[in-house]
């Protein structure tokens, strides 16, 4: 068997970290993702099955929640993204499909996305230059989809003004990274 070595969305062997005074931008590559969409008329069965798997209710619109190994966020009406550590849940989509059966449709998303975690006291200053969301009135647990420098992303708030995760399409990883680093460079 060929010896294959995984590349990060930015094309390197190791995740990139950019340090600014007051902000770090860290590429995150060790997460497995799967999307969950309740089927018509099966919304309740999907919610019950998902709760049994996740150990918590599926999150309300515009929020994310974590319980045990899993993180979930609302993507749209009756749709959620599920997230877990890749090493422990490599086959996350299969795991979720087994749990929800015919109540929902599950799609593997792991390699479709890139993720950058922003940490530091200058998050507001950088993100408000890139997207339209009113982050200053946001709270921990917010999960919104928005356009960030013309790239559609999920923006998860872990601590207001301090800690955010940005998930964008993997094929736009370099554009997204460029936007984040350029905005950070112009602020800091």
């Amino acid at each position: 068997m060929a010896k294959l070595k995984a590349l990060t969305p930015l094309g390197a062997y190791e995740p990139l970290v950019d340090e600014f005074s007051g902000l770090s931008i860290r590429e995150v590559t060790d997460r497995a993702l799967a999307s969950l969409a309740a089927r018509i008329g099966q919304e309740q069965a999907c919610a019950v099955a998902a709760k049994a798997l996740l150990g918590a209710d599926l999150p309300e619109p515009q929020t994310w929640a974590a319980a045990g190994d899993f993180t979930a966020w609302w993507m749209g009406p009756d749709q959620w993204m599920l997230d877990a550590e890749y090493a422990k849940h490599t086959l996350l989509a299969a795991e979720v499909k087994t749990a929800v059966g015919d109540a929902a449709s599950v799609t593997e998303q792991t390699d479709g996305w890139c993720r950058f975690d922003l940490e530091g006291p200058c998050c507001f200053d950088v993100l408000e230059r890139l997207c339209q969301l009113d982050l200053r009135s946001g709270a921990a647990g917010d999960a919104q989809r928005c356009s960030l420098e013309h790239v559609g992303v999920f923006l998860l708030c872990r601590a207001p003004g301090q800690s955010y995760s940005v998930l964008g399409p993997r094929s736009s990883a370099a554009s997204l990274h460029h936007a984040l680093v350029t905005a950070a460079g112009s602020v800091l």
Binding site: P61, Q62, W74, G76, R145, C146, G152
Partner: protein, 95 residues
Amino acid sequence: MIINHPILGPRDAQEFTYLGDATLIDRPDPDAGNAAEAFHDYVYLRDNPAGEHKELWYHEQGDRSWLVVTRNTLTHEITDVQLARDAARARGRST
């Protein structure tokens, strides 16, 4: 222009794309006797009102839901916004 999304609240129109007349929800029955004529009208004929207009908008840079927006084409005033699936189900579709 601000569209008051039923789930997400007020959002800038820049996040949405416009499709057109919401009569697209009323797809004719392909097995009906007058299907050819009905589909001709469905595909080609549109009202062009100066005033209140129901239209389909897609929240592309948001939750990817389709909305039925009631907009006054003279003033751009938006008087009602519904999820398109709710509007369709209210007409007996996809129940």
